[in-house]
């Protein structure tokens, strides 16, 4: 029983962080058809912005969190206006934007390396202490991650389903031309989606760095996992990305506990391969008919 609670707590913590990241990636894919390879570095930047706000500017943690979210949104806007918008008219947009964002990610990662150095830092915006459940000690940071990821997922769900902006985002994702016909400024929607994605990524990076350590490659592993989760769920399915993130995190943690940490990721990949053989469009994705 205690083992199950331990796996559940770790799975939900890791799943929450993956989910925030995967939702952002999925939103961008759904609205723009863009695979943002710089998503991982947004996690890294989120962690470092909070670190810098507290360490160098002496800001209290709520200010650091707001600064992190602001930086994430700004980076999202920058990725749209500086990279995606320029390439949108290119008929090979799907491919060139991958290359462009890989380049951007590499450049940003090196800037972080130049500014902060390669040595790992502890994240000052994190919670100390723990909560005891039976014989299990749940670190306060894990609880904070679970609460924060749940909260942000609820905010995104409410934004997408209850607001005019959210409806415009979903409309653009489902039928871009029709959205334009109805007066939706799709270019503004693209920028908003990348900004939301940037906020989610930066918060995810902040939470992750509170559990691990800050380093210039902080976002690489979560980016890969978020990508896997989006593929399993079906790219563009936002609820699917969240469900896949929690499900795969729980599987990964269970396998890691039963067989050892080194088996977690390989078995995760095996699961993905099986899923894609059985359902190439992902578990919740739908096959798109393309007229040639």
């Amino acid at each position: 029983m205690d083992v199950a609670i331990q796996i559940l707590v770790t799975g939900l913590t890791v799943g929450g962080m993956y989910a925030l990241s995967a939702i952002g990636l999925s939103l961008v894919w759904g609205a723009l058809g863009m695979l943002n390879m710089a998503h991982g570095v947004l996690l890294t930047l989120g962690g470092y912005v909070a670190f810098a706000a507290v360490t160098y500017a002496g800001a209290p943690w709520p200010v650091a969190v707001v600064a992190t979210m602001g930086a994430g949104a700004l980076m999202g806007f920058f990725i749209y206006h500086g990279v995606a918008r320029v390439l949108l008219r290119n008929p090979e947009f799907d491919t060139v934007v991958i290359i462009a964002t890989v380049g951007l990610a590499t450049a940003l990662e090196h800037i972080v390396l130049l500014v902060f150095g390669g040595q790992p830092y502890g994240q000052p915006v994190s919670f100390q202490g723990s909560l005891s459940i039976r014989t299990i000690n749940v670190p306060a940071q894990n609880l904070a991650v679970m609460v924060a990821s749940f909260l942000f997922m609820m905010i995104v769900a409410a934004l997408l389903s209850k607001t005019r902006t959210g409806r415009a985002i979903r409309a653009t994702a489902q039928n871009r031309e029709l959205a334009r016909i109805l007066g939706v400024p799709v270019e503004r929607v693209y920028a908003q989606v990348l900004a939301i994605s940037g906020v989610l990524a930066s918060i995810s990076g902040l939470l992750l760095s509170g559990i691990t350590m800050l380093s210039p490659t902080l976002g690489d592993d979560p980016m890969l996992k978020a990508f896997i989760m989006c593929v399993v769920a079906g790219f563009g399915s936002v609820p699917g990305a969240a469900i896949a993130a929690f499900a795969l995190a729980l599987v990964e943690q269970t396998v890691a506990f039963a067989l050892g940490a080194r088996w977690g990721f390989p078995l995760l990949l095996l699961l993905v391969i099986i899923t894609l053989i059985l359902r190439p469009q992902g578990v919740l994705g739908r096959v798109r008919a393309i007229r040639l």
Binding site: A171, Q174, N175, E177, I181, L182, G183, V184, P185
Partner: protein, 238 residues
Amino acid sequence: MSEVVLEIHDLHSGYQSRDVLRGISLAVSRGELVTIIGPNGHGKSTLLRTIFGLLPSRKGRVEFLGKPLGGLTPEQIARLGLTYVPQGDALFPDMTVRENLLMGAYLERNAKEALRRLDEVCMLMPKLSERSAQLARCLSGGERRMVGIARAIMASGRLLLIDEPSLGLAPLVTDSIYRLIGRLKNSGRTILLVEENPARVVDMADRLHLLDDGLIAWTGRGQELMSRGELLSTYLGG
């Protein structure tokens, strides 16, 4: 004389190297239902897409309430008060019927006004009210077309462009779609309609333009067209 809502002069447009429209001129006045008829592939839908800025014009001009539309994006044209119902099942498949309808009033920032229009539309089409919570992709072809027109009504625009509303529908469903269009005309809406089957619109349209190979081959009233057997047999297979 009533106000001219839409004026098109010598409009040329097409795809790649091919000119589909080769000099179209027509006008639609307030409260009129003007219909473009003609065989498939002769430029009817291209005309609506060009008016709405989805396809750039190559020559000529389009004016809406005296304002030139050349160079404007579809979003900007929608903001001016033009509403376009595209051909086929143009809906947001993973949104509910209610959300699809609310998207019609996207440009209305006042949420109360949008909901008032929604109530109005649901009173006009009670079936949509019953389907309100259903996903659009679960609707039948006829219901989808109804939602498309209802969504255009939600926009409360000054001119409705409707592209082949009966395409691919059973005759009974087509009848109900045209009853709805008739009610819209009677309520004073200005409509530019594209239809392949002239029999559907002869009694309703104020004027018909027969489009042949990108040019207007004939203009007149519906009954006049039905008495011109040579036009029907040459252009419309009747």
